[in-house]
């Protein structure tokens, strides 16, 4: 992937497919490292499936028995000298506390580090595709934090869906302005 924000979009899609009601995307960044945690309350994976989850031969897709999303994310983190971890609680064993947490840590100083890129587009795309989900976004940087909880939006919007064009435009402008306010500089791939 050209940008980590595209990996985030891809991994969060797994959470959508797992039937999650609440998905949080947490980015924690300092001068040296960038960590990404994606957590959901979806159906989770069985222990057997989890063992193979980072192998390209495990997948939920039905058209082909190969999935590259998680292995790719893991590889990209480990290539920088960072780390990757996945924890999952399957609904059959954890009826009240099921879900999956994916965590990847990147060394920003590595030559193999992929820039975060257009994270605002990723958030807008996720809300557009799954407006019924409670999305929680939190990005903490040394200059300040940027966050959005779609439940706060729903409290204002009532029954107007989150994927209405004006609402999506607001999300884009709001997040962009929050990043400008803390003076965050986006890195893009060349």
């Amino acid at each position: 992937m050209k940008e980590l924000s595209l990996n985030i979009l891809d991994i969060a899609m797994n959470s959508v497919k797992a039937g999650a009601h609440k998905i949080s995307i947490i980015i924690d960044e300092n001068e040296k490292t960038l960590s990404i945690i994606i957590s959901d309350d979806g159906c989770g994976m069985t222990e057997d499936f989890l063992k193979n989850a980072v192998s390209p031969f495990a997948t939920t897709r039905t058209t082909r028995k190969v999935g590259m999303g998680l292995p790719l994310f893991k590889l990209e983190a480990e290539m920088t000298g960072g780390s990757f971890d996945i924890k999952s609680r399957h609904v059959s064993k954890y009826p009240d506390n099921h879900g999956t947490d994916v965590k990847a840590v990147f060394d920003k100083t590595s030559v193999d580090f992929t820039p975060l890129g257009d994270i605002v587009s990723t958030i807008v795309t996720l809300i557009q595709g799954s407006p019924e989900i409670n999305w929680i976004f939190f990005h903490s940087t040394e200059k300040g934090t940027v966050s959005l909880d779609t439940d706060d939006m729903t409290a204002e919007l009532g029954d107007v869906p989150l994927n209405y064009p004006d609402v999506l435009e607001w999300v884009k402008e709001y997040l962009t302005e929050c990043y400008e306010n803390i003076g965050y500089k986006f890195d893009y791939a060349l």
Binding site: M13, V160, W170
Partner: protein, 125 residues
């Protein structure tokens, strides 16, 4: 300064239309957003469709959705257009520029952009 309170204004503006829009969409545009699609550039393609459909005032007629992998990863980004009573049109190797053309020609004026379809891509191999 943007704030959550602005959403109140959007609510007041949009709420009368919420009832109108339900079930009114005649055309559904589905953008492939699995790993293969995302890696190939589906995100900007999707966002271009969302933006242009709004700008061309087609929101009442066209619904833009996301879909998984349909098994033709080499042709990603793939966009399918479903319209009741018509055969599905599959556009391949899409870009935001091509998306703009599809909105203008196909979604707005009913003219399929043949040169971007999978049929055209397979015939010219």
């Amino acid at each position: 300064m943007k704030s959550l309170a602005e959403l109140q204004a959007i609510k007041e503006r949009m709420q009368p239309k919420v009832v109108l829009r339900e079930g009114g969409n005649e055309i559904r545009v589905a953008v492939g957003m699995a790993t293969c699609g995302i890696a190939a550039g589906a995100r900007p393609v999707l966002n271009e469709f969302v933006k242009d459909v709004q700008e061309e005032h087609l929101s009442d007629k066209v619904m833009v959705t996301q879909t998984g992998c349909i098994g033709i990863c080499q042709y990603e980004p793939v966009v399918e257009v479903f319209q009741s009573g018509k055969e599905k049109v599959t556009y391949v190797k899409m870009t935001p520029e091509k998306a703009k053309e599809v909105v203008e020609s196909h979604l707005k004026n009913g003219q399929v952009v043949e040169k971007y379809t999978i049929t055209h891509a397979q015939n010219t191999l």
